[in-house]
Amino acid sequence: MNAKISLRHVRQEFAVRPAKGRQSIDSSPLVVLDDFNLDVRQGEFLTIVGPSGSGKTTLLDLLAGLTRPASGQVLVDGREVTGPGHDRAVVFQQYALFPWRTASTNVSIGLEGSGLNRRQRADKAREYLGLVGLSGFADRYPHELSGGMKQRVAIARSLAYEPDILLMDEPFAALDAQTREQLQDELRRIWTETGKTIVFITHGIDEAVYLGQRVAVLSSRPGRLKAIVDVDLGERDNVEDIRSTAQFADHRHKVWTLLRDEVQAAQAAGHRKVLPDGTAPDEAPAPQPTTAQRSAA
């Protein structure tokens, strides 16, 4: 058994509160994940795609230990996850940097109280800011940085306390296309250099295929593991533009086909995103065209 992360029969449900001004949809709990099983290998780069409302973020919260499952087990190194820990780090889509701290002190916040003094923490922060290509930006505040730079700081922050596992929740979704591709390459480089286990959630099929060694496709709500696609793009170093190769297109199509049915199902059921606090601001009684369409297109 060499699974780094194991999810066993995980079920998660929310008591959905309708957003303000909406009538109650349904008082029964909303099952977001049901009988979910997944193993992630040590040192693996796993990407997860799924239609809107399939429980991707819920899954990541469970892995991070920010929430506990309603039933089933979440295991890391064979031990049950009971809360956040320094063996795991999370990178959020909206960066979640502390705006009153500089890049350097944002990166080192996870090291405070670990026995390192201020100077050692600053050295560590400089080291990891260098790793993400932000040497010389240590004293900048988040509002002085671009979106891509903010996300680099967030990645440095999550790496700084040297976790084994990096959990990433659509980290590049808010960035422009060029910055996104650049950061994708850098993330692959960091992964190769550090050997972390990475679980990367995305709604971009290209991104999932490009980054992942395996792509896990989730079903529409309640989320289950629908299929795992092994990605084998051959030797990457010698290929100029791997996204234009026939192999890439094959994998992309495979994932697209798996996802299409689920997106249609989610759309027909009118599924929307459920926020971590249990509100579903977009959830409407009548199905309306969803933005999930775009991820399949």
């Binding site: 991070a64 230990g65 920010l66 956040p84 820990g85 320094h86 795991r88 780090a89 999370v90 959020f92 909206q94 979640a96 502390f98 705006p99 009153w100 916040i109 996870g110 405070e112 109280g113 505040y141 988040p142 509002h143 002085e144 922050r157 306390y161 971590p276 606090d277």
Partner: protein
Amino acid sequence: MSTLTTPRPDQAATPGPAPLSGQDSPVSPTAASTRSTAPPALRRTVATAGSWLWKSAAIILFLALWEIGPTYLASASTRVFLPPLHEVLTAGADLIASGQLQTHIAASLTRSGAGFSIAVVLGISLGLVIAWYRPLHSFLNPLLELFRNTAALALLPVFTLLLGIGEESKITIVAFAAFFPVLLNTIAGVRTVDPLLVRAARSLGLGSLSLFWKVILPSAVPTIFTGIRMAGTSAILVLIAAEMVGAKAGLGYLITNAQSSFLIPQMYAGILTVSLLGLLVNILLVAAEKHFSRWRTSINA
């Protein structure tokens, strides 16, 4: 690069209105220098001076009206109750020369400073506790709403009865008036912390205590400072009114005393001092607020 250089000839062709509107439209110094023969530094100085002139025009007009109006437009009897500005300024200068004005300012500042400090310390510490413990908040909130909507001055007789007509009752009423803006803003600041930051902090392994000190408190600081600024304003307003009712010193006393002694220019000098003092306190607190919310500029911009 070409997008930067191509518009220049068009702009250079119409230099007429550009220097005038230079203050409103942000123009890079290089672009500006190509459009005008005047040195950029000089142009900027002129534009800044013009903008200051425009901004202070209303005040200058008001003061001019105050000076001219009573002399030429008002009847003789009105002129007694509304003396022109120069008489007021002369009376103010006399008050300063005799040291009276300084004494009154010191008395007022001591009282409002003491009450304000009590309010800030109590307001922030109680606010943090109330916001942190949800049940306490829902328990106390109705009472706080009731007190907040009670005009502080309505309680002046109560404080006078309980604490006498000395300093205690005045400091207490200032503290009462200044307490609620601080308290309510502290509560609001703590309760409106971005939940994403809390999630991030928890995922970084911060415990409850460090979450509070490192995330919740710093993110509430700008909101707390808004409360402190509001408290500073109301501390002065309430104090002046309280001093008008019963005191032996202070700016409020100066104003009512001058009125009952028929020293009308002195009365206006006192009022003018109150305005300037309030303005000064507000400027200082706004500066402090800005200093402590520097990191929020990107959100406000």
